[in-house]
């Protein structure tokens, strides 16, 4: 079973919750950090890393001697990655989405497949938890292929926890598409509620079962709870606003270390979800 932890708004506690969910389950559990722009799961799980693999995408390189400057590759490219100026043809690998269109239309076999490095995938273990994360190369704009590479490690008959990136656009969608259940973490503030509403819209559009977790409960107002009630969305967990949790988080302590009494509640939650 795959449980995805997402949020819409950043900094609401996705990583705090998802690392604790992985830790409380015990055996046959994976933690996949899909927040590849700013992966933080390793801070709390402190895994022993055992492998590192570069993640690349395919981009075109023109063999000038074979190219007839017919312009078919430029015309099919929707991303302006190929330009022709007079007798010069140029490619812009940073803009390429690796759709293969240029390779397919070229009749002169004048386009070679080369690669662009977008980041790396590291794997390891933290106790019984199998750990995988992706780290986007600084300066790289495209995170979705790296998120896919992290998700390729999902599998087995146990539990997979996916720590999703913030936001509601393509990286978030890619992270939730294979989920069996989505947990949306928020805080009960106007910003938290607003971004929760956007995240709910995405999760509904991909038709996944989901529930809401209110973090720092006690801070803010009751607007998130009220809204969830009106929408018929279950609030499946509340994590209290406590200085000890915040201080533990600051130092990189996992939620189970700073608030051990939550362990049984988190296990219960996972059992409820898997039913």
């Amino acid at each position: 079973m795959q449980v995805v932890v997402g949020s819409g708004k950043g900094g609401t506690g996705k990583t705090l919750l998802s690392t604790a969910l992985a830790q409380c389950w015990g055996d046959r559990v994976q933690y996949l950090d899909c927040d590849v722009e700013e992966p933080n799961g390793h801070i709390f799980l402190r895994p022993e890393l055992s492998s590192r693999k570069e993640c690349t995408v395919t981009v075109p390189e023109i063999v000038r001697d074979k190219c007839s400057l017919c312009g078919k590759c430029r015309d099919i490219c929707q991303f302006n990655s190929i330009a022709i100026f007079g007798e010069t043809i140029m490619t812009f690998g940073d803009m390429c989405h690796s759709c293969n269109g240029c390779f397919l239309v070229c009749e002169e076999e004048a386009i070679l497949e080369t690669t662009r490095l977008i980041g790396e995938v590291e794997t390891g273990h933290s106790g019984d938890v199998e750990f995988v994360h992706g780290r986007l190369r600084v300066g790289e704009a495209m995170s979705v292929p790296l998120i896919k590479a992290v998700k390729q490690h999902a599998g087995g008959d146990g539990l997979t926890i996916v720590d999703a990136p913030p936001g509601t656009s393509c990286p978030f969608v890619e992270s939730v598409t294979d989920g069996d259940y989505i947990l949306l973490v928020t805080e009960s503030t106007p910003f938290g509620l607003h971004d929760l509403q956007l995240a709910v819209e995405v999760v509904r559009s991909v038709d996944k079962p989901f529930g809401v977790v209110i973090n720092r409960a006690g801070l803010g107002d009751v607007s998130v709870k009220k809204w969830c009630e009106n929408e018929g969305i279950p609030v499946v967990l509340q994590i209290p606003f406590e200085r000890s949790i915040a201080e533990g988080y600051a130092q990189g302590m996992s939620l189970l270390e700073s608030k051990p009494s939550l362990r049984s509640r988190l296990r219960e939650l996972l059992e409820e979800i898997s039913r």
């Binding site: 950043g10 801070i43 989405h97 704009a141 913030p166 936001g167 656009s169 969608v173 910003f191 915040a246």
Partner: protein, 291 residues
């Protein structure tokens, strides 16, 4: 005209709350919200929308069912796993990246490419001046292009009004929308917090600033919540020769001002509001020195 972008790497460090206050402090500026995935600044600035613009970027493939023979050429060629085959091809709107390969190679010409209307852009008036904001539709791509568009609109507005500043609220992370918001900016204000995650993400976002050669200054928010980690952040900044230009203490007035829908400095005269005023003075000095 100077373009200032507030970013953070890690989400939830207080970017938008700080930008809301800066909007109230800085005279003669245009404000833009470039966190187009999850825009929140309008909740503080209470804009009166003057003009709404549809944002159309790229295309999406659409199958004309009566022409589709179900041959699966499209699903064989699609690199984005966007096509599933029934009697006819079905294309997932969220997975389609609009590359057009399916439409080009469809033997029945049963696939058309429709313009992708993926968001809205708003030109608004607020009590603090002109405000350009946007909303990317849920689950869409092209956030980088929408950010570039919002920035361009904000710059044009600033030029028309002879504004001194464009103040931009950026997105979390270091990917597509952030890159689109920082390139060629005058200076970045990087908001961080004293947590291990904040420290880790600060490093990556400062690497990004260096990569794009944009000067960056750090604001340490809620600095008193965990002083040992604040010291680590000070050390990291000093190792990188990056200045910390503000230290904002934890103050419940920040959440209260958000609940009231008002920028902090217009809501409270407490310690956080005072620190934000100081922050701006220091930042202004830094960018004047750098010019």
């Amino acid at each position: 005209m100077k373009e200032i972008v507030v970013i953070s790497g890690k989400g939830g460090t207080g970017k938008t709350s700080i930008v809301g206050s800066l909007a109230a402090i800085i005279n003669n500026k245009v404000v833009a919200d470039c966190d187009v995935d999850a825009a929140n600044l309008h909740l503080l600035l209470q804009p009166a929308i003057q003009e709404k613009e549809d944002f159309v970027s790229g295309v999406k493939a659409v199958v004309e069912n009566d022409r589709c023979s179900g041959c699966s050429t499209c699903s064989d060629l699609c690199q984005f796993e966007a096509v599933t085959m029934d009697d006819v091809a079905r294309i997932s709107n969220t997975s389609c990246e609009g590359c057009g390969v399916c439409a080009h190679f469809c033997p029945e010409q049963a696939i058309v490419l429709d313009d992708n209307h993926c968001g809205s852009v708003y030109h608004s008036d607020t009590a603090y001046g002109r405000f350009i904001h946007a909303q990317l539709f849920a689950g869409e791509e092209n956030s980088g292009k929408l950010v570039s568009h919002v920035r361009k609109q904000a710059r044009q507005t600033a030029e028309q009004e002879s504004a001194d500043y464009v103040l931009i609220d950026g997105a979390p992370g270091i990917g597509c929308p952030v890159i689109a918001s920082v390139s060629n900016a005058t200076a970045l204000m990087v908001v961080t917090e004293p947590t291990r995650s904040g420290l880790h993400d600060l490093g990556r976002v400062l690497d990004l600033a260096a990569h794009f050669k944009v000067p960056a200054y750090v604001c340490l928010n809620r600095w008193d919540l965990h002083q040992p980690t604040s010291v680590l952040i000070e050390q990291e900044c000093s190792r990188r020769s990056v200045s910390i230009i503000g230290r904002i203490p934890f103050d419940e007035a920040v959440v209260d001002s958000q609940l009231a829908g008002v920028p902090l400095v217009d809501f409270s005269n407490g310690p956080a509001a005072a620190a934000v005023r100081l922050l701006w003075r220091e930042f202004e000095k830094k960018i004047e020195q750098a010019q």
